[in-house]
Structures are given as structure tokens and as C-alpha cells.
Subunit: 428 residues, 2 copies
């Protein structure tokens, strides 16, 4: 098997199916005994090779770009949705021996991969916005995604939008969309895959199908729809401002923080609301406020961390807002030679937004003497139970609209997209 | 009730008990209808006031410092332990109207608070090392704690050590002790409280009692022993290198990461091992390697983060090791104008240790093109499933012993205290 050349056309005969296609290189992660085959429809499929698998070499070699485009048949009984592709594992990028740079899966090809989609919704438009790994996403990309999504939800024919996105920074993008599009009237769903769609154990299919149900649902929120457990039974609809990636590889990597997910979305389309605090589909006219002042930064406090970095951020980079990932209830070093207090105090033109590196729970300005010293500074705001990532996006968004420090503090504690729960769900 | 003056001597009569003491101010957190009383033995107790509570004013006023010391009676049938106090909520520090600066609870007074202790172990020594809020702990304090604990475990009469510690950075200290004391032969237990011992719902008592059982147990590991759930049923013995604080206020804030806790420790002393991979009590001669090169830093990657900070850390602070909290499997911006790659590459005298801000799971150098670009750099090491906090402590500890970059990389991937699980527990 190992002797078959990359690019060769082959036929694989297994107990329950036969396929034909071209051998393409497999990612290094997959050390199992399997091969990766590009089918004629363009889909890459990973197949395990055991003693009962028969492989027949057919002689020809692959020609990239000659795969047929899928023909899209609209069903007038179904609702219309839009797909916006931004990159990531769901549109798996394999480096072919031919050095093809186009994404392995074209939006149209999703219909071949997930034929069930045809019974859920009509994909009215597929927009290949860009193909960026999520670690390479920047605020300017968030703005482009917001603009594209805004355009789609303004089309009366469109019931909802699905955005495919790399998982690593998906929760930053979901926060950005939550703030950038005001008066939301329809679902905007971010989804992705922890394991590429070439892989047998891929989560791409279920995530995509559940996202389709979410996109035509009654939940007019920006949500992340991903596996709820490592079983293929249902996905969660996580609120875009209350979710975070918690595992490098598990399919159920995303967890809601300080909030319940809004709903369970089952494979068969059943939707079970588990958090009634959500916005229903409505006739509002959405408003686009897609801007971001890049003069924001995040800083994590830790033992012996250097508060001088604050001066450098402010002086060298003109940073006007810093989200501090403080310890516990909102602590930074206060009574030792590495105290952050003098540095926060003197940079009084910069707003310091205090969140907790505990992730779960809320910061509290008054429990301990040290937090009281910090919270008494005029350029400090304790961000309740907001995630640090969300506070970062929010602060950049607000700085683009408001320069006055006092007003900025008020706005940081104003709920724009349920980013704050004044009573946290996850407390006892 | 609100009219009784702070400092006044009172008697409180409730259905099932009577107490006498002095009224002291209560922390702002507690908005319930209760008062805080300093008993004659020095213990502060919070008491809820309801319609059945009778309060009698006795006229006298408090004199700080006049509380009697507890008399310690040794039971020769019980094992001896040592207590090292470093500060934090468990030794609650109330700002009295009298501005008393000494800790509210003296080590000796613990016997009054938790009389059950007398039936578990003899506290041979109590050492008030310092009284530092955990956000003010520095590597030099870790060294002092390690030296004190080392001294105790070298005493043949001592079966184990309990260290009381603020919870915020307890997991940094537990990692430090795990590395600083080699060939450990007895339990070293860190514990603390999420809610001060003055409070009715305090976790201090159970944490302390379970820690006492842990200290005389067969588990010769540095552990964090804290509530396992928000019920008062049992504590977990978390491995010192595989644990993190995950909630600002919950009693079960500590969770093991990428590893099971070693054991459940019940209130009644029952110990249930749930992770067989632990070191048993032994006759080894422990070795003290308590040193830390402070030229280490942590940096979290996020969208639009400024890689120039790397240059500043290296040039202005002579930083030789940087733990990067990368995204997902170990990503940093690679293909955009904020790419971290050139900055990591040029600072080739500094080692970059890659961990994941997902927290759960392991980093992987080869899955994606971007991680391959990063992991191919000679001054980069992917830290498997190590916690970023643990990698930070480990890197500072190793830098104090080894300057050669290649050897340092090898050492970062060498298991010293089960900080790496080559197969993670929490994967599917």
C-alpha cells in the first residue's frame, strides 16, 4: 500500500463500499494505517486499510482543478441560507504534491460531502470570503466578516447565515460579530471542525448540519454551533459572547462560560431551548457598527510578571485600553516590588479592564484590600463575569466610538450582547 | 442589631448554642443579615441573625492581642504533621476598627476552629512563614516555602506537611514545590479557602481536615487538597503540576487538567485512590533544588497581539525563556503582518516554550503548516500537555541549572514531577 505513488488513480474495495479516486498525501497527525483519497467530486476521504481492503491501481494520475462543480438544485419548500467561508479545518487544506494552493473543498462541494444539507435548507449563496487559518485572523478580518454577514441578513430571502471559521480564535470572531451587528434579526452561526473533513472521525458533518438547523431557527443571535459532547448526538448553540475553546483536539472543545448554552441542536433538527434568555427572530432593521480601534491589548498577570510592560504598551504602541487577566477576584501584585498599581495609576489615559484568568466566575472589586486598592483607581473597570477575550473585543469596539474614560467605563459595564450576566449561572 | 457598636462585648443566644465575644466589622462581601464575632479564643465566627436570635450587650469593649493562646495537647497515638502558614483567606485578615495588623487567626488557634483536627494528627510544629496574599507571592517566596517544607520533611517525627496558601496563585506554588524538592518521601499538601473561615459557608474547615488526612496518607506527592464539589462531602488530592484554579468564588474552584486527581479524600478520613500513577510514601532522602532564574516570562497570543513585545522582553529585561500561551494546537500568527515567527526566530538565544490557551489537551507541532513553521525553529519547544503556569515555573527552574538551549529543550520535555502525561486522560 505504501508503495502507491501520490497522485495515482486507484479503486478501493472494502466490505461495504467501493470508491475510486486519487491518492493524496495525508497529514502527519494520522499515523493510523489509512490512506487519503480525493474523489472525483473533489471530496477528500480518509480510508482505513485493513487485511480485507483491496486496492487496484488504475494507472492515471490526478489533474488538479478538473473536478466537476456541484449542481445546486433549489427546493422551494425549504428556507434559504447563506454560507460564508473564512477558512479553517472544515475546509481542509492539504498540501498536495502538486502544490495546489486553492482550498481543498470549494463551497459548492459541501453538497457532495454532506448530502443531508439538501433536505434542510437551500444554500442561496456561498461566499468564499477568504481562507485564513484562525490564528491569522485580525480585527480587519472580523470587520470583513461582519460586513458580509450584514449584507446577507439584509436579504429578505435569507433566513440565516452560516460562517465557517477556524476554531482557534472563533470565539473572538463571534464576540466581534455580536458587537458589530446591532439589532440582529436572524441567526448568524459560526461553525468549524476540530478534525478535518478528510478524517473518518471528523466533526465537520454534524457541526455543519446542526448549524443549518440553527440558521433557520428562531434564535436571532450570533452563535457558535459545535459538538456538545464527544458523541455524535447533538451540538450546542453557544452564545457568541459567552463561549471559549477549552480543548486542543476534542470535538466538544467549546464550552459556554458563566452562561448556559442557548439550545441543544440535534442531528435530526430538533431544537431544545435550555436558556430562555435569547433574542427571537424579528423584523428589526439590523445596524452595522463594524469598527475596531486597534490600540487595545491584553495582559496576563502572573507571579513575577513585569508591570513595566504597561508603560511600553502605552508609550511605544499608544495603547489606550488594556484588558488585564488578573488572578482570582481581580488581583494583581499590589504589595511587593513587582506591584502593578503604580503603573496602572500613572497611565491614567488608558483604561484597564479587569477580568479573571480563572475564566469562570466574576471579578469583584471590594472583597479584599488589594482589589479595593485597584478598583479605586479611576482608570480601572472590573468587568463582572465577562470573558477576557470578549472584554478585549468590546474594548477595541468601544474605543472606536468613545474617547472619554468615564463614559468608556460605563459602556464597558453596559450589556450590548449579553456579554455580562449580572447573576452568573455557574455559581453556587 | 445594626446599632451595636463595633468592639462591644455581646452574648448571642440561638436555638442550639450560645456564644460570647466581641463584635468586629464584617467584610463588604457579606450582605446577608449576619454579624461577625471574635470569640475569646481568638476565632472569628460569622452568625446569621434571624427573629429567633437573642443578643445581649455585656458592656465591655475588645482589647486586641489579649486572646489566650491555645494549649496544644499531643496524642501519642496520632501521627505528627507540620503546618506552614503563608497567608490567604484561610487565615482571614479582617481590617479591625483598631487597625490590628496581625493575622486574625494564629496557627495555634486553628485548634479552636477545627477541634476535629485533634483526632486526626498532632501538629508538631506550626510555622508562620509569612502572611502574603497569593497575588503578591514571588519566586523568592516559593523558595522560602520549599526550604521550610524541606526542613519539616527531613524530620523523622513528621509524617507530612500542610501549607496554607492564598488560592489565586496556589497552583504556581504547588508546581514550584513539585520541582524544587526532588525525591519526595512524604506528602506536602497545599490548601486554602475560597471563603474566609469567618463565614458560615466557609470551605476552610473541610479543606483543612481533608488536608490533615492527606498529610498522613501514603501519597508522597506535592498536592493541592481543596473541595471537589460545592457539597461538603469530599476533597480532591490534585497533583501539584496538573491543577489550576477555574473559578473566582466556588469552593470547588480547583480542577485537575489533563490528568485525574490522585485521590478523593473524604471528611471521615476515607481515601479513595482514583489515579494509580502516584508516588508512595518512601524512605528516599529528599533533595532541595530550590532555585529560580527570574529571566522568564509568559506571553499570551491573541488576534492582533504585538510580537514586538518579544524583542522588548529580551532586550530590556534580558529574558531567556518565554512561555507562549498559543492558540489551539500551538498556533501563533504566522501569515499576516502581525506574525510572531520573525520575532521568535531572531531572538535565538531565548527558548520559547509552546503551551495552549485552550488549557485542556496537548499542543502538537505537526498537524498544520503553521505549527510546522513554528516547531521547526531551533529555539522552540512544544510542551506536550503541560499547563502554561507549570511550564513557566519549570522553565525558570531549569534556566537556573542549564544554559545550553538544546539541553534546555530536552529538559523541558523531561518529566520531573508528572507535569507531562504523554497520553492525556482528558481526550477522546
Amino acid at each position: 500500500m505504501k508503495n502507491i505513488e501520490i497522485g495515482k488513480k486507484i479503486k478501493i474495495i472494502k466490505k461495504d463500499f467501493e470508491i475510486e479516486g486519487f491518492i493524496i498525501p495525508k497529514p502527519e497527525l494520522y499515523e493510523e494505517d489509512f490512506i487519503l483519497v480525493k474523489l472525483y467530486n473533489g471530496y477528500n476521504i480518509g480510508i482505513e486499510i485493513d487485511e480485507n481492503t483491496k486496492i487496484i491501481e488504475l494507472g492515471e494520475k490526478i489533474k488538479v482543478g478538473e473536478f466537476p462543480k456541484a449542481e445546486i438544485i433549489k427546493n422551494s419548500n425549504l428556507k434559504n441560507i447563506s454560507l460564508i467561508h473564512t477558512g479553517g479545518t472544515i475546509a481542509s487544506k492539504i498540501d498536495y504534491s502538486t502544490q495546489a494552493v486553492s482550498p481543498a473543498i470549494q463551497p459548492e462541494e459541501l453538497f457532495y460531502i454532506f448530502p443531508e444539507l439538501k433536505n434542510i435548507a437551500n444554500v442561496e449563496r456561498t461566499i468564499l470570503l477568504f481562507n485564513i487559518a484562525s490564528e491569522d485572523m485580525l480585527p480587519k478580518n472580523w470587520i470583513k466578516i461582519a460586513e458580509a454577514a450584514y449584507k446577507e441578513i439584509n436579504d429578505k430571502e435569507i433566513f440565516g447565515v452560516i460562517i465557517s471559521h477556524g476554531t482557534d480564535t472563533m470565539h473572538f470572531t463571534s464576540a466581534a460579530l455580536s458587537f458589530f451587528i446591532r439589532n440582529l434579526n436572524k441567526p448568524i452561526i459560526l461553525t468549524g471542525a476540530q478534525r478535518s473533513s478528510d478524517r473518518a472521525s471528523s466533526d465537520a458533518k454534524m457541526n455543519f448540519i446542526c448549524s443549518s438547523y440553527a440558521a433557520i431557527s428562531n434564535i436571532a443571535e450570533v452563535g457558535i454551533v459545535m459538538h456538545a459532547s464527544s458523541n455524535d448526538d447533538f451540538c450546542y448553540f453557544h452564545r457568541g459572547t459567552k463561549v471559549r475553546k477549552f480543548h486542543t483536539t476534542r470535538r466538544d472543545a467549546f464550552k459556554s462560560v458563566n452562561d448556559k448554552p442557548i439550545a441543544k441542536i440535534y442531528y435530526d433538527g430538533k431544537i431544545e431551548i435550555i436558556n430562555k434568555n435569547y433574542k427571537e427572530r424579528n423584523e428589526n432593521r439590523p445596524e452595522l457598527k463594524a469598527f475596531f480601534d486597534e490600540r487595545v491589548a491584553m495582559l496576563k498577570f502572573y507571579p513575577n510578571s513585569r508591570p513595566e510592560i504597561i508603560d511600553i504598551l502605552v508609550n511605544n504602541f499608544d495603547i489606550r485600553g488594556i484588558v488585564i487577566e488578573a488572578s482570582g477576584l481581580g488581583h494583581v501584585a499590589t504589595n511587593n516590588e513587582k506591584s502593578w498599581i503604580p503603573y496602572i495609576k500613572k497611565n491614567d489615559n488608558t483604561l484597564f479592564a479587569i477580568t479573571s484568568q480563572c475564566i469562570f466566575g466574576r471579578v469583584h472589586p471590594y472583597v479584599y484590600t488589594n482589589t479595593r486598592i485597584l478598583s479605586n483607581l479611576e482608570n480601572v473597570v472590573f468587568c463582572e463575569d465577562m470573558l477576557s477575550e470578549v472584554a478585549y473585543v468590546k474594548l477595541g469596539w468601544l474605543l472606536a466610538q468613545e474617547k472619554d474614560l468615564k463614559k468608556l467605563k460605563e459602556l464597558m459595564l453596559t450589556n450590548f450582547a449579553n456579554e455580562i450576566n449580572y447573576i452568573s449561572y455557574y455559581e453556587d
